[in-house]
Symmetry: C2
Subunit: 211 residues, 2 copies
DNA sequence: ATGCAAACTTGCGCGCACGCACTTTTCCTG
DNA sequence: CAGGAAAAGTGCGTGCGCGCAAGTTTGCAT
């Protein structure tokens, strides 16, 4: 019950943040405004979110982490773990609800929001590690955690590649300086391309536990 | 020449931050103090560092990124890429200079500093991606970037596992909740264990370009 | 029902990150 | 060598993150 109200407040903050951001533009909204719209004090606000951007982005990302983990767990035990992970990730990232896609356009226009959005990929690491550990029956080594973290960063890279064309010019410049040129395609393509190099690592880990 | 003075200021700030942190304790030092000790204004300080912790940690990590990349490039072309990366990483992380190790003890005692220290692993991603791209002759796909980023997070995981025993109890609790129990060993062991699962991915990528 | 303990919220205050406008230094070019 | 442009450093103001010490609500047990 205490937890109920907690989540209600969180949801109110999320929605208020997104609504105000859409109305007045992301830069024209202060924490004070969000808090007021949600009916709490500014101090309470950042008991829930560490930054203004987090609140806005969180309205879009919601609890994607849990959905991805659940989707992987739902796949039959027979399929390759690498495929299960890839499909679950692609599925959950293309299913942006009605309101999700319009908000995404807003996010892609502001650098600060894009970074906050990219930071959410780190959040999938723990749930992913849990479900992978379960599949591999590996509780002793770093294997599951490393694979989970690798997936998280691969997703991040895919999103970066996808957001690139919208980004400003110097960002592309710093990339070219790194010697990396990436043709941007659709989001699912980007995700699959980024996850593909990790498949051999999953296969090896999977074979070690189930020969 | 302009770059010269820039690096000199950076170095002065690094050293001042570390010295003051050791003298008065990391929490007892303000940005103002660091800036004064380095002979610049507080405003200039955070043209160089985004946070107080970054400055302190940076005195230890210096430019480890460049050293790792250089170490990989220095390995003969015959050896497995996975081995080259692993050895280079282990080498550069065990070579903490005279002053490095005493400062590490300080870092491990404060949570904020440990997090800043762990964040430095992200910095090796770009140099690593550059050198891996070079080895793989792969400039079109995400492969090199994904592998580089995976290595970076693997290193982070290894460092987390290594710092764990020093950490507070609830951190260990949240880990157990994730279903992960890791026996902590020496730093080189942790690094090798964390990088091992990625070796198949490197092998596959390497074989694709040089059959 | 009533009291108690834990947890959530709130007001307050300090230091810090960072944008903006300005001064000083450094470098280049005629 | 002089002058001007570019870059580094500085002062100032604003909003924010967060610790601390209350006040308030929730849940449990008596």
């Amino acid at each position: 019950m205490r937890e109920r109200k907690k989540q209600a407040t969180r949801e109110a903050l999320r929605e208020a943040a997104l609504r105000l951001a859409v109305e007045h533009g992301p830069d024209r909204v202060r924490v004070e405004d969000i808090a007021e719209a949600a009916g709490v004090s500014p101090r309470t606000y950042n008991n829930y979110f560490a930054s203004r951007e987090q609140a806005i982005v969180s309205a879009v990302t919601a609890d994607r982490e849990a959905r991805i983990a659940a989707a992987i767990a739902a796949r039959p035990a027979g399929v390759r773990l690498a495929d299960a992970v890839t499909e679950a990730v692609v599925e959950q990232y293309t299913n942006t609800g009605e309101r999700g896609h319009e908000a995404l356009l807003l996010i892609t226009t502001r650098t600060a929001l894009r970074e906050a959005f990219l930071d959410t990929t780190a959040g999938i690491e723990r749930p992913l590690a849990a479900v992978i550990t379960d599949r591999l029956d590996d509780t002793e080594t770093h294997t599951a955690r490393v694979l989970a973290a690798s997936v998280a960063t691969a997703v991040r890279i895919a999103l970066e590649g996808w957001l690139r064309p919208t980004g400003n010019a110097d960002a592309a410049g710093s990339f070219e300086a790194g010697g990396l040129v990436v043709p941007s395609g659709s989001l699912p393509d980007q995700l699959r391309a980024a996850l593909a190099p990790l498949a051999p690592a999953f296969d090896a880990a999977e074979q070690r536990t189930q020969p």
